[in-house]
């Protein structure tokens, strides 16, 4: 069937618009701050052959992983066992899921009794049971991390399956929020089914199928054209997660990237064996890291669907931290995933010196906490924090942003304080935390939580507190992160993967890492250094010692002769 270009344009955009509307529906009807405000979820549409066709605009990290998880869940349950009005729920990391907090809901789309495809959404739940509130923490095996849900039917012919629903909610601390969030997931799929239905009503199944085939081919053609202009060859690098929560022995990741005109192969097989610690990534998470990195190298406007994924090959070795096997703990998989993205960019930095940033935040940086409150019952809260972005060819890394596939929004202080027994005392940039460079890295972020009513169980699940993100081409690394507990006795450092009881009146402070610098700091434009000094982002002392710029604070000017002298010393 041949398609006119306008119909093709309308249908392909309508499919993406359907997933976008699922996003809006899920977000608006959700209860937890993590979903409703921070948008920690994703939506997608798959065709009857389980090819990914359209993805709503939210979290890139989920997109690559849903491509793995949804087809496996449907296959495992059996497409023939899923009827109109049904929905399958799952969060099982093995063999192809992610961490337990990410719960997926898959619903079939039927048209005239025929299976057309599936709408699916994945949302990060604030709690799925397990060893600590918000279900994050340094656990030894997956069973401690919470409720494991293999693909099971949670909605049947349009009605919730009460036994499954009750069994799931019984394992969960924040029942009110999670119940609401799960209903919002059901609603999102209902929206998606309606929208796809309206499209089929308008254009007919034949036209929509033709548009889907053309969309995948079109995406593949354009992706190939993009691959053709990348430097071809094999590039490799290694990098480390700083610690695993039990030992200080760092965790090795290795990536070899083979860029070819007809496809890209990521070889992650040489990463170290999985640990009984929260540093293991599932295959789906590793796949997602590679898909994200590749997407960044090509035209950002290219649609993301099977036509793109076809050209991507990800090889791993089961039993490694890049491909954990049951019963490994996987709650920290996203931390490792994000570091793997960094390692991939490092591998490409020689071939694409103008195409990738210096070391960036490179962690999800979770905080999860909760407790029992006389008014609220058992409450849980989850957040992730921005950090410094790496400096780039001709531009500074942005200060305090989410990075590398992590696209969650801020948790507004006013909303947080209204909903939870917590006071945020500071939310600010961390002065002097940037990796110095000709193009400097971004500053880290500080956020302080005080718990006036306590006690609260607080888990840090993060990294980067030993080594800051690396610099490139003479740039310096960013300042490492700090996780601090402040009690009546004073301050003490918390481990990057640890759980602690916080008493009433105590405070936890996150100070995330700065991004790495790009190029030598003494080549930075002194006027830019001055700007940062006047804005209180960089201290006068640091400007002098690291950037070799003398700033006259009285006059708010660069002392040029002194600066020349300082810089001449470096040259020698």
């Amino acid at each position: 069937m041949s398609l006119d270009p306008i119909t093709f344009e309308v249908v392909r955009n309508a499919l993406v618009a359907a997933t976008d509307e699922m996003v809006v529906s899920l977000r608006r009807a959700a209860y937890s701050t993590n979903i409703k405000t921070r948008a920690d979820f994703s939506c997608a549409f798959f065709d009857a052959d389980l090819r990914c066709i359209a993805q709503g605009f939210t979290q890139p990290v989920h997109l690559g992983s849903m491509v793995q998880q949804v087809p496996r869940a449907v296959t495992e349950y059996g497409a023939e066992n899923i009827g109109p009005g049904d929905a399958i729920i799952t969060n099982d990391p093995f063999p192809s899921g992610v961490h337990l907090n990410d719960v997926s809901l898959v619903s079939p789309v039927f048209w005239d009794g025929e299976l057309v495809g599936y709408v699916a959404n994945l949302a990060h739940h604030v709690d799925v049971g397990g060893g600590a509130p918000a279900s994050i923490g340094a656990f030894r095996e997956v069973f401690q991390e919470g409720l494991i849900i293999p693909p099971v039917k949670v909605v049947e012919a349009g009605a919730l399956v009460p036994d499954v629903w009750k069994l799931v909610l019984a394992q969960i601390r924040s029942k009110h929020e999670t119940g609401g969030d799960l209903r919002a997931q059901v609603a999102a799929n209902a929206t998606g089914i309606r929208r796809v239905g309206a499209l089929l009503e308008r254009h007919g199944l034949g036209t929509v199928r033709a548009a889907i085939d053309e969309l995948l081919d079109y995406t593949e053609r354009r992706t190939r054209a993009e691959l053709a202009r990348l430097p071809h060859g094999s590039f490799e690098a290694e990098g480390y997660v700083d610690s695993d929560g039990y030992s200080d022995e760092r965790v090795r990741l290795h990536a070899r990237v083979e860029l070819r005109a007809d496809g890209v192969r990521f070889d992650i097989t040489d990463s170290e064996p999985q640990r009984r610690a929260p540093v293991n990534s599932t295959y789906a998470q590793t796949y997602s890291a590679c898909a994200y990195a590749l997407k960044c190298l090509i035209d950002p406007d290219l649609p993301v669907n099977d036509g793109f994924y076809r050209l991507l090959q990800v090889d791993t070795r089961p039993g490694t931290i890049a491909h954990a096997e049951w019963p490994a703990p996987v709650v920290g998989g996203w931390e490792t995933h994000t570091r793997l993205v960094e390692v991939i960019f490092r591998a490409l930095s020689e071939a694409l010196p103008h195409g990738v940033p210096a070391g960036t935040k490179g962690m999800m940086c979770h905080a999860g906490f909760g407790g029992v409150d006389p008014e609220l019952g058992y409450w849980c809260f989850l957040e992730t924090f921005g950090g410094g972005y790496g400096g780039r060819f001709r531009s500074d890394g942005p200060d305090a942003v989410q990075a590398h596939g992590q696209n969650t929004e801020n948790a507004p202080v006013e909303e947080t304080e209204r909903g939870y027994p917590v006071l945020v005392e500071r939310l600010e940039l961390v002065e002097d935390s940037e990796g110095a460079g000709r193009y400097r890295g971004g500053l880290g972020l500080r956020k302080d939580y005080r718990f006036p009513r306590g006690p609260v169980t607080f888990s840090v699940l993060a990294d980067r507190d030993k080594e800051g993100p690396w610099g490139l081409f003479g740039g310096l690394p960013g300042r490492p992160a700090e996780y601090v507990l402040q009690t009546a006795e004073g301050e003490r450092r918390l481990g990057a993967k640890s759980t602690v009881e916080v008493q009433a009146g105590e405070l936890v402070s996150y100070r995330t890492c700065g991004g790495g610098g790009y190029g030598p700091p003494h080549e930075r434009d002194p006027e830019l250094v001055l700007r940062d000094v006047v804005d209180g982002k960089v201290s006068v002392e640091r400007a002098r010692a690291v950037y070799r710029v003398a700033v006259d604070m009285e006059a708010r000017r660069v002392d040029e002769s002194e600066t020349r002298k300082l810089r001449a010393e470096v040259a020698r």
């Binding site: 306008i6 344009e9 309308v10 955009n13 309508a14 993406v16 618009a17 976008d20 509307e21 809006v24 529906s25 977000r27 608006r28 009807a29 959700a30 209860y31 409703k36 405000t37 605009f57 890139p60 929020e177 609401g180 919002a184 059901v186 209902a190 929206t191 309606r194 929208r195 308008r202 994200y292 997407k295 960044c296 950002p300 195409g355 990738v356 940033p357 780039r392 942005p398 305090a400 942003v401 989410q402 990075a403 596939g405 696209n407 969650t408 801020n410 507004p412 202080v413 909303e415 304080e417 209204r418 909903g419 006071l423 945020v424 500071r426 939310l427 600010e428 940039l429 804005d535 209180g536």
Partner: protein, 687 residues
């Protein structure tokens, strides 16, 4: 002659200032003059006083302006400081943390309108319920004031944490700053946007503060300029929501008037399309520097609660956010792209022909205007193609030279080895391709099929390009209203006075006290009534924002009766649950707690008389003109609007108007809807 009364609409754009004068007798006069940047008020005062006869009683002047928007885009606002709660001075710069372009490794965060050095903190703190955790210290506010004086700021935004719940600290800070810093304008977040969420409230208040001195002096110059010439009529300002407010209000809260001109055009588009009987319409406004599109679906405007000034492609309701200055204000959702009649055509390093986004603006303007412009613009291309006459337009304000247009277009034609006509066609088509993006972003990118819609085209260049764009999008019908070239100014006369007030609250909707709610509503209405004493009658609308406890996005529902009674409250909750299910496909479990989060009142003034009669046709100079369509050069009849009647006539035809030309392409027909004098272009079956 007895004195008739009249109303005047004035729309200031980057290139032209348009004035429409509508007398109570129904007579219409129009004037288009070049804008006079940076003193935009000069053209406003001159053109209004020229049109408004001395014996005419001027009822009101309704004004739409992009002065505030341009100040934000070009970063020409006041030296602005931000005063905030200790520990939170970076809220403005942190934005929403996310990078709006997910796969862009080179994204740059837009620099904040208030630099970090100008963001000062106070040790005070409120809790989420508005109670005071740490008292405000007046001596510290005075220290901050002294610091601000030293820093030489012209405007201050005050945004304290939880001020939406209790504005008292902000009010006190405002009083001290006004006392200590005479002449410096102070914007309080609790007066601009009394809503929870510190980033959104801060960003909106900062933009308000940033444009306030400029807007205020601009509006004062207009008022004093008109007063000097004997015009004392009240000045009203269009808001981005499509309603009008008083000039005094606009001086205090200019952020509500950002993008006010474009909103007027869309309001008028809705009015005229409804009148003719079209309810699914894409409004398309092509002016000198930008093209804008908005979707009207089932007879309703597309509205938004958020807007980004200066985003790369501004399309309010898209999920992509964070590339411009965020404003949380009621708006009409308008997509905008930098392509207009003044957009300059140029060659990139690889020899590719590009159009825009740089514009020749009012100075020097397109080359064909002979005001010093030499670079080729879209308008120059349209002259070369024969679409626009080589003549004087707009009562002699614009004179168009075919030779100058050709000279300019040759500057790109020669290096490309193209003929003059081929280069002009290229420029015209590239401009079309860019504008299709704006049209797509409000239709097909939202899953709406543009073929289900009618295009309503206006703006100085809209009627020239509309039929070509329609062909590209598969649209079968194009409407061109009378006075299309000054349609936004016309729209100002269609707009209703509209005012809002809101009270945030945190109440259980099932157990709230109806009498207390009634009191809150009555209090807001009394306040609005006092402010709107000049309006004879007001129409009221009471709405409430509700959500299930634990959610944070509200659904706005209209109160089912005029007064709050126990029954009305129960019906309100039921309406909310129905609406929630309609919007999101689910309702809460039976009996789920429902919260009342805000009460809203809107006061709407009388609907102005909407019939705008077409002015007399300008004289037509040629009986026909050679125009180019594709590779054909055709001798095309030139007509006036009033010579077209209800019977469809076949194109090609050119309808020359006051300041623009309606291009009826081959394969199209044109007829006139008599009651509104709107031209209806329809694509024949053989297109």
């Amino acid at each position: 002659m007895t004195a008739a009364s009249a109303r005047v609409g004035v729309d200031v754009g980057g290139t032209f200032t348009d004035v429409v004068h509508l007398s109570s007798t129904g007579a219409v006069q129009v004037r288009k003059v070049l804008s006079t940047p940076p003193d935009y008020d000069r053209a406003v005062v001159a053109s209004v006083s020229e049109l408004a006869a001395a014996d005419c009683d001027l009822e009101e002047i309704v004004h739409g302006t992009t002065v505030a928007t341009n100040a934000v885009l070009e970063r020409r606002g006041a030296r602005t400081a931000l005063v905030t709660t200790k520990g939170f001075r970076d809220v403005l710069e942190l934005r929403r943390l996310r990078i709006p372009h997910m796969y862009d490794l080179f994204w740059r965060k837009p620099p904040p309108l208030v630099e970090r050095r100008l963001r000062l903190e106070l040790t005070e703190r409120l809790a989420a319920d508005g109670s005071v955790l740490e008292q405000l210290r007046e001596d510290e506010v005075r220290e901050v004031a002294a610091r601000l004086r030293e820093l030489g700021v012209e405007s201050v935004a005050v945004c304290l944490l939880h001020a939406y719940a209790n504005p008292e600290h902000e009010e006190r800070v405002g009083a001290v700053l006004e006392d200590e810093l005479p002449g410096v304008s102070v914007s309080l977040s609790s007066r601009i946007l009394r809503e929870q969420r510190e980033y959104e409230r801060t960003a909106t208040t900062v933009v308000n503060a940033y444009v306030r001195p400029l807007m205020s002096s601009y509006l004062r110059s207009i008022r004093s300029g008109l007063a000097e010439r004997g015009f004392e009529a009240p000045l009203r300002i269009m808001q981005s929501s499509g309603g009008v407010m008083t000039a005094h209000d606009a001086e205090e809260r200019p952020v509500f008037a950002l993008e006010s001109g474009p909103a007027a055009g869309v309001v008028a588009a809705l009015g005229i399309a409804t009148r003719i009987g079209y309810e699914n319409v894409i409004s398309f406004d092509m002016g000198g520097t930008t093209a804008k599109a908005s979707l009207i679906e089932r007879g309703a405007l597309t509205r938004g609660r958020e807007y980004e000034a200066g985003g790369s492609l501004s399309a309010g309701s898209r999920l992509l956010r964070g590339s411009g200055e965020l404003l949380r204000i009621p708006t009409i959702d308008i997509a905008e792209i930098g392509a207009g009649g003044g957009s300059i055509a140029w060659l990139d390093a690889a020899g590719g022909l590009m159009v825009g986004p740089r514009s020749a603006g009012a100075e020097p303007g397109p080359a064909c205007y002979g005001r010093g412009g030499v670079e080729p613009t879209v308008t120059d291309a349209n002259v070369v193609l024969g679409y626009m006459p080589g003549a004087t337009l707009a009562d002699g304000e614009i004179s168009v030279s075919v030779e100058r247009a050709a000279e300019a277009v040759l500057r790109v034609a020669a290096p490309l080895g193209l003929s003059l006509e081929a280069a002009a066609r290229g420029i015209h088509e590239i401009a079309n391709a860019r504008m299709t993006r704006a049209l797509r972003s409000v239709s097909s990118e939202k899953g709406r099929d543009p073929r289900d819609f009618t295009l309503l085209a206006y703006g100085g260049s809209g009627p020239i390009h509309a039929a070509g764009l329609a062909e590209e999008l598969g649209v079968a019908t194009v409407l061109v209203p009378p006075l299309a070239g000054l349609f936004s100014a016309v729209g100002l006369l269609f707009a209703r006075p509209e005012f809002h007030d809101v009270r945030p609250c945190h109440l259980d909707a099932r157990s709230a006290d109806p009498a207390a709610l009634e009191e809150l509503y009555a209090e807001m209405e009394a306040g609005l009534r006092a402010a709107l004493a000049y309006l004879p009658e007001l129409e009221w609308s009471r709405t409430a924002e509700l959500r299930y406890e634990g959610q944070s996005w509200e659904v706005e529902v209209e109160l089912p009766s005029r007064r709050v009674t126990p029954e009305a409250l129960a019906a309100l909750v039921a309406r909310f649950e129905d609406e929630h299910e309609r919007l999101y496909g689910v309702r809460g479990q039976a009996g789920s707690p429902v919260q009342l989060r805000a009460l809203r009142v809107a006061a709407l003034g009388p609907m102005p008389p909407a019939d705008v009669l077409a002015p007399a046709d300008p004289p037509v100079r040629d009986a026909e003109r050679v125009a180019r369509f594709g590779h054909d050069a055709l001798a095309v009849p030139v007509r006036t609007r009033s010579s077209i009647d209800a019977e469809p006539e076949e194109g090609p035809l050119l309808v020359d108007e006051y300041d623009t030309t309606v291009v009826v392409r081959p394969g199209w027909t044109v007829r006139r809807h008599e009651a509104t004098s709107t031209l209806i272009l329809e694509r024949g079956t053989r297109s």
